[in-house]
Amino acid sequence: MSQTLLRTPLHDRHVALGARMVPFAGWEMPVQYEGVIQEHRAVRGDAGVFDVSHMGEIDVEGPRAHELLQALLSNDLDRIDPGHAQYTLLTNETGGIVDDLIAYRLDRCHYLLVVNAANRDGDFRWIKEREIRGSEVRDASDEYALLAVQGPHAIAKLGLEPAPAFTFAEGTVAGVDCMVNRTGYTGEDGCELLCMAEDAGALWDAVLERGVTPCGLGARDTLRLEACYPLHGNDISPETDPISAGLGWTCALGKSFAGVETIRRIKEEGPERKLVAFVMEEKAVPRQGMAIEGGGVVTSGSHSPMLDVGIGLGYVPASLAAVGTGLTIDVRGKPRSARIVKKPIYKREE
């Protein structure tokens, strides 16, 4: 059975730039233009732009929108005012992670949730099924395009003023109205520009004209891995809990939300395993699914373009999870040494 891949409004531009297009979460997306390592370094040293229009946008509005989301999301929305955003988790009744997302508080009674592409339909159904009178849940994904402009020079190249992380405001870039969000997935300064789908081409062209490097999903993955941002479906899932994943800081355990009792119990008793970051100590590239001696597993692995070594994230028994612990990873039948490091694996110099 063949399935037609979805395309973002920028598809033809990616093809014209010579991008290598691959299927990702039901979408046909650019994995690289010139090369993953080159694009990765452009973001670390200058500025890069990613088409992330495949991500979903769920609009939740109404006098009881806040109440609905407080019951479904792990973080405490009382901590943010309109104009602020929050990294948070959609959890299930057993404390598993349905998705990780950013909630943008547009107004007292109006939120926009930006969710992973692969989970867009599932998240929407999950929240819609739990809708209460006085809240309206709508999948607005098709109305928007999203461009992540990331890197130390991103804000200056766009002609924007600096602003604190996890804030947002209505703005204009090259005459295109957009929501300028001070968020990202690379560990660098920058923003994510949410615009109407029909304006995406003009915005993309304007960003490239300012000397920003087009970057594909390949570099997005190596950047987030160096920054130790979990990828849903790899490092976190409905079968993993926030405490084991090191995301306890996103859980307001004083409030009531789906699965909170389980998450409280895991926190009290201590998790059986923990998600750790590691760096290879010999030449080898760890990959998702490889076994870690002693009962662990690699959940994300690649080559770090900045450190020029293999790096990864994986779950290990809590007794093996201390920073500095040596690990042995089964790399296609060969035992390879790695060492647990403090997160993030790579951090830009201040």
Binding site: V36, I37, T222, A284, R287, H303
Partner: protein
């Protein structure tokens, strides 16, 4: 900035349809991967070589090359004993992207059956394999 090599398939090489080449010299051969193979993978970040002194068998994997995104077996176009591994590629795998038929060679072998060479493709026949991909 890495200036990637331009697409080419030199006439003096023999090719295996799994995108490997051999430069045969008497009872020895130098082996590597083709421009097409390195371009499909992207910038190489790791070469897992065989040990020197081990044997490689025609049509079987003798090592692995990895890019950021993918791992690929390297298929031996010919059988023989590994005389030398290109240490420069182990240290700097991107050498294969820069110069797949020169500095980016992978191993040198002593052939165990020189008649195997006859089964390999010339550059023109290999280009036809690529055209069908």
């Amino acid at each position: 900035v890495n200036l990637a090599a331009a697409e080419s398939y030199p006439d003096d090489l023999k090719y295996h349809p799994e995108h490997d080449w051999a430069r045969v010299d008497g009872d020895e051969a130098v082996l590597g991967i083709t421009w097409f193979a390195q371009d499909s993978l992207g910038e190489l970040v790791h070469f897992e070589p065989p040990s020197e002194g081990s044997t490689v068998a025609k049509d079987a994997s003798y090592g692995e090359v990895e890019s950021v995104k993918a791992v690929s077996d390297v298929i031996a176009p010919l059988s023989g004993e590994v005389l030398e591994v290109n240490a420069a590629v182990v240290d700097a795998p991107e050498t294969v992207n820069d110069d797949p038929y020169g500095a980016g060679w992978l191993i040198r072998v002593r052939l165990s059956d020189a008649s195997e060479v006859e089964s390999l493709l010339d550059a023109e026949a290999y280009r036809e394999v690529l055209a069908e991909q």
